[in-house]
């Protein structure tokens, strides 16, 4: 068991990763833990009989947010531009990533963390493009969390000044509330889904900075109201940017690669704050 974070409780596994005994962590001074610090105080507390009320006021996401902030600081220190891709299963996330990697890999260093409940198929697809990828299998978990991603980042052993694409588990609901330390959340919707998804799954469309509408080459064959979809997304999040593209035909992919390059440059120039929305 890891003495710092107690992560033997976690049920996720990072593919090809070290055993628990081999875990590497920042020095303890850099890895403060709420859970380990105050134990000695307990002995001095007088035992009371009967029940008592403790007013504790603790945020249930505090631990995830702590790890996310650690990830964010580490990524920013190394000039790594991290993006969290979230969508339903089957929207074309992995295809979009392979296409964009093929366009960017000559000029940019790219790493990928793949999240799925089971299998390492997606990481293998990404590796075929020649970039380094690691797979997280969440088991029964329906989303990635900042602790899993922190270990995956360590495993990738990244060089400075790079892109990190984190493909979350296919799920439009659960990943929304879990900050991973990314610069931006990107939500992907395909035209084979309903245009009303922004209204049905509001949290993620509110949390994302960019919405990609994928598979626009299929628009002539499906009943998808593109204009209405964009209006719904803007109702939920007036600041959301929207790019319509097809990962398969390549239409408008350049718009997305330009977005990536411009936003990476903006973050590195220090004009972009760490992009956590005001909560």
């Amino acid at each position: 068991m890891c003495n710092i974070c107690g992560c033997n409780k976690a049920e996720h596994a990072v593919e090809t990763m070290h055993k628990h005994a081999d875990h590497q962590h920042d020095p303890i001074s850099e890895h403060q833990h709420i859970d380990c610090e105050q134990n000695s105080a307990a002995a001095s507390v007088a035992r009371l009989s009967g029940s008592r009320m403790l007013e504790i006021e603790q945020n249930l996401l505090a631990k995830n947010n702590y790890y996310a902030e650690q990830n964010r600081q580490k990524l920013q220190a190394d000039d790594i531009f991290a993006l969290n891709f979230i969508s339903s299963p089957g929207s074309g996330k992995t295809t979009l990533l392979t296409e964009i990697i093929n366009r960017l890999k000559k000029q940019h260093v790219i790493y990928v963390v793949e999240g799925d409940q089971q299998t390492a198929i997606d990481a293998a697809r990404i590796r075929e493009t020649g970039v380094k990828a690691t797979q997280i299998n969440t088991g029964k978990g329906c989303h990635l969390d900042a602790h899993m991603v922190g270990h995956a980042i360590d495993h990738l052993d990244m060089q400075k000044n790079a892109f990190l694409f984190i493909e979350n588990v296919g799920n439009l609901i659960c990943p929304a509330g879990f900050d991973l330390g990314e610069a931006h959340k990107i939500v992907i919707l395909s035209v084979t889904e309903g245009e009303d998804k922004p209204l049905k799954y509001q949290e993620i469309f509110h949390a994302a900075d960019l919405m990609i509408i994928n598979k626009i080459d299929l628009l002539p064959y499906v009943n998808f109201n593109l204009k209405q979809c964009c209006e719904y997304a803007k109702q939920i999040n007036p600041d959301i940017e929207i790019i319509q593209l097809s990962a398969t035909s390549g239409e408008n992919i350049a718009q997305f690669s330009n977005w990536l390059i411009a936003n990476k440059a903006e973050l590195q120039s220090g004009y972009c704050s760490n992009n956590k929305k005001d909560l």
Partner: protein, 114 residues
């Protein structure tokens, strides 16, 4: 079903508090959950029973207090109470509401026994 990971976090945090505050059993847990926190109350209650099994919170009563969302209309600057991300301002009808409260998930209190 991220309510399961939330329930597991809750149990972990209770166990940490048990060390800090020296208790052996939890009788009642009170949470405050904002209506925009993305939590389905019934799912959390269901997952809590599973997550609490064999922990010091097994059998504890879980009380979830809803917290309404508050926002400020960015058009007319009126404070409003809302329950979704896309309700128009009731004063001016505009959609741009900046949410200032209602996304939280907080453990308010624990009733415990030594």
């Amino acid at each position: 079903m991220h309510e399961l990971s939330i329930a597991e976090s809750l149990i972990e945090m209770i166990e940490e508090n048990a060390l800090t505050h020296d208790f052996k059993k939890v009788i009642k847990i009170t949470l405050e959950i904002g209506v925009l926190a993305g939590i389905e109350k019934s799912a959390l209650l269901f997952c809590f029973d599973a997550a609490a099994k064999n922990s010091l919170a097994e059998g504890a009563e879980l009380v979830i207090q809803d917290k309404l969302a508050k926002g400020i209309c960015q058009h007319c600057h009126q404070p409003i109470i809302t329950s979704s991300w896309y309700e128009p301002c009731r004063f001016c009808g505009q959609m741009r509401i900046k949410i200032i409260d209602g996304e939280q998930m907080i453990i308010k209190s624990l009733q415990v026994e030594n």
